[in-house]
Symmetry: C2
Subunit: 151 residues, 2 copies
């Protein structure tokens, strides 16, 4: 069986990966929020205009999910990823609006080999999303569990 392109031992602290960009789609903002986060400022144009946001904004969970997709396309899909035990923090810093273009990067913060299972370890990363105005709109500090390359 082919080895994945990216395994635990390939990560280096400080390494930065540019995961490309995504344009925030209006239909998807509404569809996501209607199903998962139907608060007025996510689904009701008029209510959103009267809110502190001054217009419709994407659900924060949608923003995280868009960031995730870029990471899967960028390196996770062809990696030894075994999923994630969790997230250390998320910050939603600026509203994300329809038509925004989010550029997403991942920086390796720490690498923690498993003490009980020498074939794997946890990689801690900081994901950052900037919009087209170079404003930092969201950050995710998360953990991924990866296998080492099979010997």
């Amino acid at each position: 069986m082919a080895q994945p392109a990216v395994c635990f031992e390939d990560f280096v602290i400080g390494q930065r990966f540019d995961a490309g960009s995504v344009t925030v789609d209006g239909d998807e903002v509404l569809a996501f929020a209607t199903r998962f986060d139907p608060q007025p400022f996510h689904i009701d144009q008029q209510a959103a205009e009267k809110s502190i946001f001054g217009g419709l904004i994407a659900s924060g969970w949608h923003t995280c999910s868009m960031m995730m997709r870029l990471m899967v396309d960028g390196y996770l899909r062809d990696s030894s990823s075994m999923g994630s035990p969790g997230i250390d923090d998320i910050r939603w810093l600026k509203p994300v609006r329809v038509g925004d273009v989010l550029r997403v990067s991942s920086t390796v913060l720490d690498i923690v080999p498993s003490t009980s299972r020498p074939d794997r370890g946890v990689v801690m990363t900081l994901w950052e999303a900037y919009n087209q105005k170079d404003e930092l709109v969201a950050t995710i500090k998360g953990r991924g569990l990866f296998l080492r390359r099979a010997q």
Copy 2:
């Protein structure tokens, strides 16, 4: 204008809110992951069976989004919520599978009045999701910004 049912001053530390349950839908697991998290163990039945999970599992972002919806239906929709500045941590503790029934609750951990803006404050909550086997599958510690009731 009618006051929202739930405002900042209505939260009490330790208060627990039962947000009901959701059954994890197979089509939605595939649709969500295909769009946002297309890793093999989320979208490819055969690859998932060979993975450490032994079968398809929902994206962790999908699990969080399902939890969010229960909270919106439960109390956020008719509240003075102004959105969330962020999440303090997420733990994905057990795989979430198609057909699982997730019961979700919210417990108030802390209440922090704004020092600069007396009309609002942050409520810190712990959201917990248990499956039908009473296993804790996911937790989210998050922050919500709420207005006080208008005087």
